[in-house]
Assembly symmetry: C3
Homo-oligomer: 245 residues x 3
C-alpha cells in the first residue's frame, strides 16, 4: 500500500537527484522514509539519497520497492506548477503508480524491481571534512573546466584548494580555513577527479547549499548535501582518477 501527497517542487528536486546517474531506479519505501541507491554504468560514482515521510503532506505506506522510469517521472512533474500537490497512489494489481494533480492524472507503469540490484556502499575512511557553499564549489569546477577535464581537490590544515593544470595553463581556487563554514584537516590530502561527473552533480546543488566534502589521499571524495527543504539528503561518492602530476 502506498498513498502519498507531496508538493511538486519537492518531488522534482528528489527525482532530479535520483536520475543523476541512472534512467531507471529502485526506490525503497518504509513507513517513514523513501530511499534510493545507485551507481553509474561505469561504477565511478555512487549516489545515495533518502528523504523523510515528513517531506510529504500525506504519507501512508507499507514497506516495498518501486521500480521507476525516472525520465518519464521527470516529464510528468514538469507539467505541474511548483506549488501543485501531487497525489501518488499504487495500483498493486496493475503494477502501476497513479499520479494526479490539478485536473491531470497519469497512470504510470512500474518496472520490475526484482531484477534491479542495489549497489554496495564501499567502506572508505576519509580523514578530512570541509563545508563550503555550493557557489564556491561551482566556481572552482567551472574554472577548471576552462582548461582541463579533471580537477585536483587538496585539503591542507589551512585551506581547501581546487586546482588543475592544462597543457600550458594552470588554475587555482583557494578557499582559506576562515572562509569555510567548517574545515577539519590534520594533514594534507589530495585526490584527482573527473570534471564530467562533478559538472553534472552541480546541476542539482544550489549556490546557497551547504556542501560537505570529505577527502583522503588518492581516495574517493564524499559530497553530502540536503535536498527537499532539509527533509532529504544526498550522499555522493566519486572515485578518484589516476592523473597527470
Amino acid at each position: 500500500m502506498l498513498e502519498a501527497k507531496i508538493k511538486s517542487e519537492i518531488l522534482k528536486e528528489v527525482v532530479e537527484a535520483a536520475s543523476l546517474l541512472i534512467d531507471e531506479g529502485k526506490f525503497s519505501i518504509s513507513q517513514d522514509e523513501i530511499s534510493l541507491k545507485a551507481v553509474d554504468p561505469a561504477h565511478i560514482a555512487l549516489i545515495e539519497l533518502g528523504f523523510s515521510a515528513t517531506a510529504f503532506d500525506v504519507f501512508n505506506a507499507s514497506p516495498m520497492e518501486l521500480g521507476v522510469n525516472l525520465d518519464k517521472l521527470k516529464k510528468v512533474i514538469r507539467l505541474a506548477s511548483p506549488q501543485d500537490i501531487m497525489t501518488l497512489k499504487l495500483d498493486e494489481e496493475a503494477n502501476r503508480l497513479n499520479i494526479s494533480f490539478a485536473n491531470l492524472s497519469h497512470r504510470m507503469a512500474l518496472l520490475d524491481s526484482s531484477t534491479m540490484r542495489e549497489p554496495k556502499t564501499p567502506n572508505v575512511a576519509l580523514s578530512t571534512k570541509t563545508t563550503l557553499n555550493g557557489s564556491d564549489l561551482a566556481q572552482g569546477i567551472r574554472a577548471a573546466s576552462t582548461i582541463s577535464d579533471y580537477i585536483i581537490l587538496t585539503a591542507t590544515p589551512e585551506a581547501l584548494e581546487l586546482s588543475c593544470k592544462g597543457d600550458t595553463d594552470a588554475i587555482n581556487v583557494q578557499l582559506s580555513k576562515d572562509s569555510l563554514a567548517e574545515h577539519q584537516c590534520q594533514e594534507k590530502v589530495r585526490s584527482l577527479f573527473s570534471l564530467e561527473y562533478l559538472s553534472s552533480l552541480m546541476k542539482i546543488i544550489k549556490p546557497t547549499d551547504a556542501v560537505c566534502l570529505s577527502l583522503g589521499n588518492d581516495l574517493p571524495v564524499k559530497i553530502d548535501f540536503d535536498i527537499a527543504e532539509g527533509k532529504g539528503k544526498v550522499s555522493y561518492l566519486l572515485a578518484p582518477r589516476i592523473g597527470p602530476d
Copy 2:
C-alpha cells in the same frame, strides 16, 4: 488600391496565425475585412482567419487578392517595435507591397495569386461546443505529448476530457462542466487527433484566450478563438485520425 496603417503587434499576430499551415498565402481584401483560408499540404487541417478593417488605424482598399510570402513578411514585422505603426501601400504597377515604419521602408514583391487555389470549407455538423482557457488546452496537449503522438478529445454531458494511452502509460485531463466557461453536450462524443498539429496551433493561442472547441463522434474538431484584440478571429478545423483503441 490599398493603403492601410496598423500597429505592428496586431499585424504580427495575424501573420503568425496565417503562416501556421503555409509559407505563401492569398489574402482576400474587401472594403471592411481581410481574410485568408488555407490547408496544409497533407489536407489534414484548414485554417480560416478574418480580421476587420477596424483593427487598422487607417484602411482604404478596393476589393482584391494579394499573394504574400508570409515568411518574408514575418521577418519584416520582427524588425519593428510592438507599438510601431506600419504603413502598407500597394504599388499595382510593380506588383509590390510597400511596407514602411519608423525610418525603414521595404518594397516587397507580391506573388501571383491567380494560381493559388482557395480550399473549400467542408460542411460538418458538430454536436458539442465547449469553451475553455488556452492554458487548460495547452496543459492537456503538453501532458499527452509526454507519452504519445495523438490525443483523444471526449465530451460527455458532464465534462471535457483530454486523454491518451502510450505503450504502458495513460494520461487523463478532466475538465468538469463547472470549470468550463461553456459546455453544450447532449451525449458522449469522441475523436482522436494528431498532437503534431495541435502543438503547432498552441504557438498562436495565448493562455488567457477563450478557446471554443466543437466536437462530434469521429469527426473533425473545430477550434475557434479571437486574435487582433478581438477584431479578428481564427477558425481551425482538424481532421480526426484513425487510432488505437
Copy 3:
C-alpha cells in the same frame, strides 16, 4: 614589468572587441596605454583599439608586447562577476600572465609575440562623417539581413541611407540629417559592404553608443566608437565590396 588591476567588466569589453577578427592577438603596452591592431585572415577588415591606463585601478608597466590567446582570456573573464577586480601580473621568467580575482588564480601561458606581425593602417581619405546611435545602425543591418548579404551605405548632404536590394525586394533605412547627432557631407558618396562583417561588429556596439561613420565613394567605411566607459576607443575599417548595381 606589468602589474595591473582592472574591473572585470571593463576588461571583458576590451577583450571582446580585440577578439572580433582574431583568436590570438598582440597587445602593445606602454606606460599609459594598451593597444592592439589586427586584420582578419581575408584582410577585409582592420580593427585598432586602444585604452588608457586610467581605465585601470592600478597600472604599472614597462613598454612591452604581449601575445595573448584571446579565447582563453575570454573564458577566464566569464568566471568573474562584473564588479570583480582582476589582478594581472607578468611572470617574465615563465612567460606567463598570472590573472587573479576573488579566490581564483589562473596562470596563463603567453604566446610568442615576435612572430605576430602588426598590420599597417591604410591611408584613406574619407569625405563624409556621420554620428548616429548604435541602435539605428543595428536596425539597418538587421533589416538588410532579411533579404541580402550586403548593404549599401549612402551619404547625401541631407541624410544617411542604409539600403539593399534582394532578388525581388528592397530595403531602405533613411536617417535624415536632423535625426543625426552629426552629419558632414558635401556631396553624395556611396559604398557597398558585406553584412557578415557588420553583423559581427554589432555584437560589441551597444544600442546607446554614439557611432561615428566615415564614408567615401567606393571606399572603406571607418567606424569609430568608445569602449571601457570612454577610456578606450575602437576604430574599425571595413573594405567595400564590388556589388550588384
